[in-house]
Amino acid sequence: MAGASRHERAWVRGARAGSAADVDALFRHHWPLAYRAAYLVVHDAAAAEDIAQEAFLAALRALDRFDRRRPFGPWLHRIVVNRAIDWARARTLRAEISDDGTLERAAARERPGAGDTDARALASGLAALSPEHRAVIVLRHLLDYTPGEIAELLELPRGTVNSRLRRGLDQLRATIGKELR
């Protein structure tokens, strides 16, 4: 981990100095998880691509103002998750207005059947949660942030993070029908 963060600092320094290779390295290191986090919150591959890409571009644009002593990952994840929550909220509003059944269709598609894998069941369970609950679960269990770090990233009280985590996991467990660790 220390090695990774040393590399990361070198990549950020290089990117600030204009090195395309270092930007590539930052992208290869951070994009897969950023994209996955966005996808798990919005449940739309095209939107996740946009969100991860725009977050990365925003981070690059702000690189000159970035405090090099801090890690790049949390900074990027904060942008990604907040944008993903905004996108998911906006989609919910649009669905209410247009009444096109998009969300219902997506949920029906992902409803677990006999042959579904655990991963598919999980996707279905996540789809049933609100974007805010999905976001804290993704930050905690995919990106491995502590509740305190999540509170800082999302600018929420720590108690709110804990309650969202607990309720989200309870609901997920009920939907999937299996114990989660």
Binding site: A15, G18, A20, V23, D24, F27, W31, P32, Y35, R36, Y39, L40, A45, A48, E49, A52, Q53, E54, F56, L57, L60, R61, D64, S98, D118, A119, R120, L122, A123, I137, V138, H141, L142, D144, L169, I176, K178, E179, L180, R181
Partner: protein
């Protein structure tokens, strides 16, 4: 079940393609980024003070007045300009819009007022003209006879595309992109796509009904208007200003406030991006990928397939230039020069011969300097 592993294993459709697209966009954006200048806090006030002092000196001293006088003479335009637009230097008909309406100018210089419209644009073969009023899209023939009208709020940028037998008109009503058939029927909000920026939508030349438009976030969307299917959308390029297709429909140009972006017709990943601040208009030369660009007081020439090449300079003028329009045969380029109240026609072959005409505002009814809606085909 271990949640961490499951979250990492959940399959995501098209992840690798998505990664490649995003990497290409990030690389292009990084290559074109503007280096952040180190700011010197006292530089701006000092510069402002120096300019102010120079202006005061110019106003009160006789040498200064002489300099200002000579500058005014320079902006008076081309010296040997004809006093009227006696004729166009090439075949075709020019569409001009002024505060007094839209006009068709024939090759021999005769002009016809189509009516009190604005923002005129040719149909694909020049048989009709689509014009707008504040709350109306109107189709007229080249004599000004109205064919149909469609009332819609806050209408702008109506553009006509298609073949001789099947055409569509795209336009903006507010920030929504609408498409209506060439006979004025079947008006629809196009596929519920995101809101459009204040940039004219453009139809891909040819029979296929594909329209490109810029969203408010600067993304370019390429849509099959009949099937309502999105071919591609680009990454965001903030503050879009213009979109242009090449004649063969294989290159799409996006002009933003600080860059020019060239797309192929097949993908939303740009073929090339070039940082170029201050470009206000651009036009592909007919039957080529050669581009003419207006940047402040100069007209530049660039090959869209070699965007990083050194631009050639076609025309230079004091003050800002306006719009561009190629003649249908590609031999002449019309450059509008509002500050000098002139139309300047520049021959594209070297040496760049000029034909300039002054008094343009007066000839189109007075008020503000007119805009060009296109220099169209010779066929009637």
């Amino acid at each position: 079940m271990r949640l961490h592993d499951l979250l990492r294993e959940t399959p995501i459709p098209g992840q690798e393609e998505s990664r490649q697209r995003s990497l290409a966009v990030v690389r292009a954006a990084f290559a074109e980024r503007e280096p952040v200048p180190r700011r010197t806090p006292y530089l701006k006030p000092a510069l402002a003070f120096a300019i102010l002092a120079a202006l005061v000196a110019a106003a009160v001293s006789s040498p200064g007045r002489a300099v200002l006088g000579s500058l005014r003479k320079t902006v008076a335009g081309e010296k040997h300009a004809a006093p009227e637009l006696f004729s166009l230097p090439s075949q075709g008909r020019l569409l001009v819009s002024s505060p007094h309406g839209s006009w068709v100018v024939q090759a021999n210089g005769s002009r016809r007022n189509l009516g009190r419209y604005r923002d005129a644009s040719w149909s694909p073969h020049g048989l009709y003209v689509v014009v707008t009023r504040a709350n109306e899209v109107v189709a007229v023939d080249a004599k000004g006879n109205q064919r149909w009208a469609l009332p819609r709020p806050h209408v702008r940028f109506a553009r006509w595309g298609g073949s001789r037998i099947d055409t569509r008109v795209a336009y903006l009503t507010g920030s929504r992109l609408h498409v209506v058939a060439g006979d004025g029927t079947g008006d629809v909000d196009l596929c519920g796509e995101p809101a459009a920026a204040r940039v004219a939508p453009v139809w891909q030349p040819g029979p296929v009904r594909i329209v490109a438009y810029a969203g408010t976030k600067g993304r370019v969307y390429l849509i099959d208007a009949d099937r309502c299917s999105l071919f591609w959308r680009s990454a965001p390029y903030p503050r879009p200003e213009a979109l242009r297709w090449s004649d063969d429909g294989r290159r799409l140009l996006l002009v933003t406030h600080d860059k020019i972006v060239v797309f192929g017709h097949a993908r939303g990943t740009p073929l090339a991006v070039r940082f170029m601040r201050g470009v206000t208009d651009a036009a592909f030369a007919p039957r080529s990928h050669r581009l003419a660009l207006v940047r402040r007081g100069e007209v530049l020439e660039l090959d869209a397939d070699r965007l990083r090449g050194r631009p050639g300079r076609i025309f230079v003028a004091p003050g800002r230039l306006g719009q561009l329009a190629w003649s249908p045969n590609g031999r002449w380029l019309l450059v509008t020069w509002p500050a000098a109240d002139q139309f300047v026609f520049v021959r594209s072959a070297r040496p760049h011969r000029l034909a300039a005409f002054s008094g343009i505002t007066r000839q189109f009814g007075g008020g503000s300097f007119p805009t060009i809606g296109g220099w169209c085909c010779t066929s009637q």
